[in-house]
Subunit: 402 residues, 2 copies
């Protein structure tokens, strides 16, 4: 759908779209950091979501999915970190329902307009007393506090605000996400939230979200592990007062382009803040036989432990890249693969070319590493993001539970 040749939106300072309020506070789920928050629209919003494909889908993820799928409407979300409420059985499900009822009461809306989202340790029950006590402390603010309340091992929140003009009306799209480990989304990553004041029907919003998540959140990986709590939720409350979006129009294309940028930026921020990561890795695959192959090859490269460790070591070890390409079932010509790192050619026609190793190594000290692969085997492209594999990744994950 992205037929616009120029960018019709701009990134702006963090701000909530019209009619959205939120808060983030500390209630004792984590030692000292913010761990509890809410997000709501003053009017019911069109809602869309994508969810983990992990068979052990967590209770909050399942509940929110059920609510959105009823009629693609949602008004408020209750969020917490530290405890994932995953693999918690009937009690976990009851707790998620209880949270939903409490927030519905607080907002004086039907429970069907409330979703819940949790992230943290799998297998532990939510401390419902802390949540019950915390709920009255949540106030409707325009701050970014909620973007901190969902973090676990993340070093920093992932946020973005963009604005575009639809038929003369200013529309804001603001997204935030959390996720640092157990990141290998199959449908969406850990937790991502996008709010907008655009006017758009829920069904169309769902289609646009699902399409754009495929090329953004679903193309990042930190560790190859797909979480039980993954969810991206998008709320559109229509307060920008633009004419309701219609596919195949300029407004639609502008909004879709802006939404794609929001999701893409959040996905990249998650990869860059992968557990222990020191570098963001972007892989672009050109001339694949089809888009699925291009995406598959790109994601395999950024997901390879060996490639990730080499990038941590600032080592232009292209053998691991080509081996990873060959280990996929993507259609390739094994004699026509070109590979470049940070714009410097390492491989032409699947063979080593002489390169200035010191110069390449110097560029590998950058915070963002570009791997370009040209398969010369078609006309489709693929793109994916990951991070390096570091001592700190091992350190963080050798002692998360205790």
């Amino acid at each position: 759908m992205q037929v616009l040749t120029t960018q019709k939106f701009q990134t702006v300072a963090f701000q909530w779209p019209a009619g959205f309020y939120s808060d983030g506070i500390h209630i004792g789920l984590r030692k000292a950091k913010k761990d509890f928050g809410w997000l709501f629209s003053k009017v019911p919003a069109a809602a869309a979501g994508t969810y983990t494909t992990n068979q052990f889908q967590a209770a909050p993820t399942k509940l929110t999915k059920n609510m959105i799928n009823q009629d693609h409407q949602l008004q408020g979300l209750l969020l917490n970190s530290a405890v994932a409420n995953s693999c918690t059985g009937q009690q976990g499900w009851d707790n998620a329902l209880q949270e939903q009822r409490w927030l519905a009461n607080k907002l004086a809306v039907a429970p069907s307009l409330i979703g819940v989202a949790s992230t943290g340790l799998i297998g532990a029950q939510l401390p419902m007393d802390l949540i019950k006590n915390g709920l009255p402390q949540l106030t409707p603010t325009k701050s970014d506090a909620v973007t901190y309340a969902v973090l676990t091992t993340d070093k920093q929140p992932k946020t973005i605000s963009v604005q575009c003009e639809l038929s003369g009306k200013l529309v804001t799209i603001t997204g935030f996400a959390k996720g640092s480990g157990m990141i290998h989304p199959k449908m969406a990553t850990m937790l991502g939230f996008v709010t907008t004041d655009a006017q758009v029907d829920g069904d169309l919003l769902q289609t646009m979200l699902s399409d754009n998540v495929e090329s953004t959140f679903n193309q990042i990986t930190v560790d190859g592990d797909t979480s039980t709590n993954d969810m991206v939720v998008t709320l559109a409350n229509g307060l920008a007062d633009n004419p309701t979006l219609v596919p195949e129009t300029t407004d639609y294309e502008i909004f879709n382009q802006a939404l794609h940028a929001v999701l893409g930026q959040l996905a990249q921020q998650i990869a860059a803040d992968g557990e222990g990561a020191t570098k963001l890795v972007e892989c672009n695959v050109l001339h694949a036989a089809n888009e699925a192959d291009g995406q598959k090859v790109a994601k395999a490269i950024v997901g390879s432990n060996l490639v990730k460790a080499a990038i941590f070591g600032e080592d232009p070890n292209w053998g691991r890249i080509i081996s990873t390409i060959g280990a996929t079932d993507a259609a390739i010509d094994i004699a026509t693969v070109d590979i470049a790192m940070n714009g410097m050619k390492l491989v032409t026609d699947s063979l080593a070319v002489p390169f200035d190793e010191a110069a390449v190594k110097a560029t590998l000290q950058q915070a963002k590493i570009m791997i370009d692969v040209d398969l010369h085997h078609g006309s489709a492209h693929g793109q994916a993001w990951g991070c390096d594999l570091t001592y700190n990744y091992v350190k963080i994950n050798a002692s998360y539970h205790t």
Copy 2:
């Protein structure tokens, strides 16, 4: 085929079967360690092989596969470490052919009876002058030197010798393997060699090897990366003079059981010596819907970076295990999963059970960690082996190339 209820073979000290000779020496491919070797039978041997499914199959792997597939006969193999002769184009292929001709001349046999195997850095050409000069230095010994000559980042060689009696004849099966990183075999791992003096037709040997590799080499993973050079070759020279093996007989079952043990032991030795590893992890999955699902779940668990890092941290983090199970497409009942580590139950019916965390952590200091999963969803089993993810894995792989 394994209908024998008792073990009909025994493990013995390392020794070559009748008629097999080998050597391993240093010719300058590595700094100081052994890097070049040979292995041959004094008479042509029945031969079987399994090979990498990586699309960039290395020249030596392809050449050896071609030779074995002609008539399942082979007599000698030339081996080297340090340089993989992979992604080396026409020159790499010509070099593999040249090695084949040189060894055929030295052994005075047809080139079609000679295979070659290389392991090491991808993309570099073999230094043919060093190989030409090294060849006359290889002598026919009964030592284990060749098992050192194929090592790269391995801490130690992987070897096993077993003996069984077939119709009154003593039969020896001896295997060795290398492999420490880029280990996620799709058909076979890096390099594995099994020799036996048993009398068995090449076609049958191929069937037995292929079947047994599925549940041994193909069920280990170190880092999820499938190499370009994977190959397991089995040679049977018949000098034990047993009656030629016939399927569905006791002799066949004894030999198959012994062969499975040899392949399984080598596979476990590779996993235990995974790059940077401090612990071998064995996962047994019970009551899967079918064998493929059982194998898939077991391999996913030992392959999860998060599980691997938790085991390095001696942390009984079962949430990562159950999340990994759910991330597969194996048929499961999400309410009936049991999980135990080192025999101590952590999860029953997919829910946490109280356990003595200090006691479990104490057992996680062992060199071999057992993860038992009961899916309660069928009657098939699965088994896989891996290792922990450590600081040293990152260290080794951040600086392999340079």
